[in-house]
Subunit: 333 residues, 2 copies
């Protein structure tokens, strides 16, 4: 085995979030499915943008948020994703590198602009997303650096990669390299609608390629087309080595072989914006896991990260997760 | 006189702020003057950006923030400023129009990018700014729409317009049109360092062209090169019709002929980021003034706006100032 340089390398869509706090009625006026992530083209993205209130911008992207969370705990992260060489690409690249994350995917020098996601946050802290994939559709197997994958304990990928056509190939290439090198492959199901779009592929992936699965309650229920969480839990048991299932304010359930852990959510005063809660959980869990912590402690770190993320607008940590973890759980690094 | 379409038209640098919360020690490491706004070129801007932590982006610009504040109170605002037709220009244009502000300055289609200001916010809530003027240097007299100026009760301009060369001409052109139409001209001194750069011009402007002056304590002391606030107050009396002087947590002092009002600051729990406090004050004051409210009430509206702005990161209102004003001062519109 080669030397480990990264705890986790993430592969995902490189996106800048455009955050708007808005009334629920606007979603109805615009005919948008509340709570979902919808894919839109550049024209539709601009048209809807012009109908919403003032925004703030913050780097996002599901797997990128996870790696940002891992880095904020003090983990060694790398990220693979495609931006264009434009202003928002510069924003995305700066923000992830500023956390100490290795990010060297070549930006596209022509074609579509850096991806954006218009994130409409309603007073109930729910988010409805309109994603323009832009330059993300250019990500392909050629962007996978075999040495970087081989040198990472875990290769983590978002289900959203099944949306841009060539990214799926990049995913499978990376998973192959990881396994050839005795490393773990991890997948987040991303979104119940994304699971709907790619269910057969995801069921196969989980059974045959994934070592560590992340999913929330809606996603795992959708994956196995069952009625409730417990049925989904029974369905996923034995399908992959570890399954970490998040349940919002009910905390999370972690399965591994015969082990089952049920970990309560962290207390939180006010939920402002749930965007990125699952991403942050995966970052905390993978940080703990790659540090050799047990499943229960790793889940607790995931819950701590999720609680921080949902207490403010935006899907990246606003404070040091390492300091938070040290305060709540004892020294982490 | 033509029909009044706007309460206030603002002319200023059209800037997107890049907000970074940082330790004070970083300013020393980078050799930056704490609390100041420094002008930097594109290369220096990028070089310093690469040395700071993850950021969020939010529309800014001094006069633009003032007009955003006015609009949030329910005032009719217009803005004149130059962006490029790039991603951050789109962000700036969206955010100001989303508040209902009339913004029709043609964006530059080539040349420098939309202006950015790297705003480094230290734990004491002070901000140090590095501004890349970018497309703002293209603003000139040709961007002044005489009808828009003629139809605004007040033409409001930031002292920072004295930095890009052609913008000064735009300022003087607009001031001339406003006065020809019996409207008021208002100036904010922007920054004590800006006053240092352009003191003679500003003394002349205040004495001969400005009806309503906004300045903070440091700026008015710098303008008249005196030792303390009271001396500056005596120096500015009679120089222009109204002078509204802000003093941070000491509130504000408003002079108009023989009238002198001393208005306490609004109470606030935690000061997070003082960026835009003066801009917001001017927005609240001018809203009150153009609604026919007295000087004391107008200053109170200014203080309410400033208190809202400094309670969060970013220089634009995060909540409706109209609702805040109604709650604290009775119905405003």
């Amino acid at each position: 085995m080669s030397e480990i340089r990264f705890d986790v390398i993430g592969i995902g869509n490189a996106i800048v979030d455009i955050l708007v706090q808005t009334e629920t009625s606007l979603l109805e006026d615009l005919g948008l499915a509340k709570g979902a992530m919808s894919l839109v083209d550049a024209k539709a993205a601009q048209s809807i943008y012009e109908k919403v209130g003032p925004a703030t911008e913050c780097s996002g992207g599901s797997a990128a948020n996870t790696i940002a969370g891992l880095a904020s705990f003090g983990g060694r992260g790398a990220f693979v994703g495609k931006v264009r060489d434009d202003q928002l690409g510069n924003v995305f690249s700066h923000d992830i590198r500023a956390l100490g994350v290795h990010f060297e995917t070549a930006p596209a020098s022509d074609g579509a602009a850096t991806a954006t996601s218009l994130v409409l946050v309603t007073p109930d802290a729910d988010r409805t997303m309109l994603t323009y994939l832009g330059a993300c559709i250019e990500l392909g197997p050629g962007d996978i650096n075999a040495d970087d994958i081989a040198d990472a304990q875990v290769t983590y990928m978002e289900g959203y990669l099944w949306d841009p056509p060539a990214a799926k190939e990049a995913f499978l290439t990376a998973a192959g390299i990881a396994h050839e090198n005795g490393r773990d492959v991890s997948l987040s199901l991303s979104d119940p609608f994304c699971v709907d779009r790619h269910r057969e592929d995801f069921v196969d992936l989980v059974a045959n390629h994934v070592d560590i699965l992340f999913a929330n309650e809606d996603e795992i229920i959708s994956l196995y087309q069952v009625d409730d969480f417990d049925k989904a839990l029974q369905a996923v048991r034995g399908q992959c080595r570890i399954a970490a299932l998040t349940r919002g304010d009910k905390g999370s359930v972690v399965l591994a072989g015969d082990e089952v852990h049920v970990i309560d959510a962290e207390p939180i005063d006010t939920v402002v914006d749930t965007t990125g809660a699952g991403d942050a959980y995966a970052g905390g869990f993978l940080f703990g896991h790659t540090q050799g912590r047990g499943l229960s402690d790793s889940a607790r770190l995931g819950n701590i990260a999720a609680a921080e993320i949902i207490s403010h607008l935006g899907a990246r940590p606003a404070t040091s997760l390492k300091d938070l973890a040290n305060a709540r759980l004892g020294a982490t690094a």
